[in-house]
Symmetry: C2
Subunit: 368 residues, 2 copies
């Protein structure tokens, strides 16, 4: 079967860089494919998936190789859950909330509006019972899902005009990713738009839409939105700490040795650190460039934030009434969020706020 | 040489749990030792080191095994740099600021007062040029140092009496870890005390010292300080995001294959996520228990925070004048801190503060 798999994928070629040892007997090499939701231009999201694949090769001394494909190369960018579940590909790298249309439970290993920040998300998954619940849910889709990245809190998007209060959201045509965030926005009077990445710029330019959110400064800059919608809002309350997940087909996962399972998990953990570290290095510099290019930073007003939180919680309550698995996952996730928010308020936020309020002083002291 | 190493360590026994495959030929097994700075009771710090060793075993299919030792078991808890550098042990797990007495540059892969938070620390190391500078510095000590954990922002310690303003710090006998933080405290009028973990409680009880800091709620709770010094201050501005490091003797590191180097790195990255996730799950619950047991939360006053920041920056300037390597590392670290603080202030802090200010509302909504 390994031999057949090799023959099946050999025509696609194997990047020499993933071969740690050059003279490996081909029949001993396990060859898998990872389909991702990302264009290659998103070099932190796609780059994180690629990094994970490279690590699997290195950790196995070249005996386990996973080739990484951009969205659309072998399967559609937003069909990763189906493609991994039905075994078209062995692995995927995606944001699980793309599949909330199938079931809202898909949001829990990615992001829900006003959800967990990056640290709380990984903490809930590993020590808060999250991974166990995620495993239980994904078993119905023949997928094993593990933590393999995060973007950190995303920005709230680009707006052609200022949005000063809740009233300004009425009728706003807003391109927003994610079904749950779209549903919350609808409750605020927004008219959510589903538009693929490449079509956002012309729609914003023509005024077909009023606003659009994407990721954060580094990824947004590549699409050039600041040229046609200069007001850049924060924070993206619908994506507080969105986890990216590595998917593995369950039967394929079960076929791995304990060693190879550990290799996949450790490569994903390493990619998780790598991706967050890269965003935290790239976003600040990109934001400065965007501001230099004319972008104007704005914060969502309190009435918008309060209304959005209330709408989110109402929505979760309604979903939980109809969906027992959502209810079960929410019952674990919800108290974890409360207590982690409480703890961050005591210590972590306090020093971050202090540093933030002294940022000019910090910069001025650079002489050392 | 592997055979000799095996004979040398065989008498110490190898935990069966680290053997992924039971019937491995012993001569093929690379056996290393990791000396740590941690007592076994600190199950997140020692636990993180142990987790890393376990992962190395799993990732290598049992062919590379590292046995983990508590502080003092085979070398003194605070002699990890010497013991790894001179090859007494192949590896260590420690907080590098313990060695600032040798050279203040040791602080950069751990923590400096008002330093980088957990995310900024790993971002600077991986993408901000930090690892390269750390490698350059540690070459002089025959050590390779890599990221292998973090505690997150620590608490500011336990005080027998309230400390309401800078004036209250004059003459305060304060047990504090770390040489740089002690030097900053001295500039604020504090009299820093060096006391080992086990001796802190009786000193606080008798009033020999006025206050003591340790780590955060989960670790502090084990030492019971709340019973004898009830005021619990935040934040620990001297430990904003302290990195724990895995040390590897340089010659031993260079002797590893590319595969085994990748295994050590990925195991450390996995331990980094594991440790932060465990603290973020344990600290909030421990804090609630401590508050239930009579601890009283307090925040350091603005005048204390401002004076401490100024004293820290003065200190760094003075060290940089005398120490060219410190100057070089600071010149990379300092602007990274400024721009990351700026970015956190735009987005991440904003959502964390909003969530924090709505914590009661979040808890009340638990019905879903």
């Amino acid at each position: 079967m390994k031999r057949r798999k090799f023959l099946k994928t050999a025509g696609l070629g194997v990047a020499a860089s993933t071969l740690a040892a050059p003279a490996i007997a081909q029949s001993n090499v396990l060859q898998w494919r990872m389909a991702t939701s990302w264009p290659k231009s998103l070099d932190t999201l796609f780059g994180g998936a690629e990094y994970m694949c490279k690590r699997i090769g290195e950790l196995s001394g070249g005996k386990f190789q996973v080739r990484c494909f951009a969205g659309g190369e072998i399967v559609p960018a937003l069909a990763i859950a189906d493609s991994v579940g039905n075994g078209t590909v062995e692995m995927g790298h995606t944001a699980s909330y793309y599949y909330v249309g199938k079931d809202p439970c898909f949001a829990f290993d990615c992001a829900l509006p006003f959800g967990l920040n990056q640290r709380a998300q990984q903490s809930w998954m590993i020590f808060g019972g999250g991974q166990k619940l995620v495993d239980e849910f994904y078993a119905g889709y023949n997928i094993k899902s593990i933590i393999a990245g995060n973007t950190g809190t995303q920005m709230g998007g680009w707006y052609r005009h200022e949005v000063k209060s809740l009233a300004d959201l009425k009728g706003l045509k807003f391109r927003i990713g994610g079904v749950l965030s779209g549903q919350v926005c609808t409750r605020l009077g927004v008219v959510p738009q589903q538009i693929a990445g490449g079509d956002i710029y012309p729609a914003l330019e023509k005024g077909t839409i009023d606003a659009a959110e994407w990721v954060g400064p580094y990824d947004d800059e590549k699409l050039g939105f600041y040229k046609v919608a200069q007001y850049y809002y924060a924070p993206g309350w619908w994506e507080v700490g969105p986890q990216l997940s590595a998917y593995i087909n369950t039967a394929k996962w079960n076929s791995l040795s304990a060693e190879y399972k550990a290799i996949v998990e450790a490569a994903a953990a390493d990619a998780n650190m790598w991706m967050m570290a890269k965003y935290d290095a790239e976003n600040p510099v990109a934001l400065r460039r965007l501001l230099g290019g004319g972008a104007k930073l704005r914060a969502f007003s309190n009435d918008i934030m309060d209304a959005a939180l209330k709408a989110s919680n109402d929505l979760y309550g309604e979903i939980a009434e109809k969906n027992p698995m959502f209810k079960k996952m929410y019952a674990s996730w919800h108290p974890f969020r409360s207590i982690d928010v409480e703890w961050f308020g005591v210590c972590e936020n306090r020093i971050n706020n202090f540093m933030s309020s002294h940022v000019k002083e910090l910069s001025a002291m650079k002489k050392g």
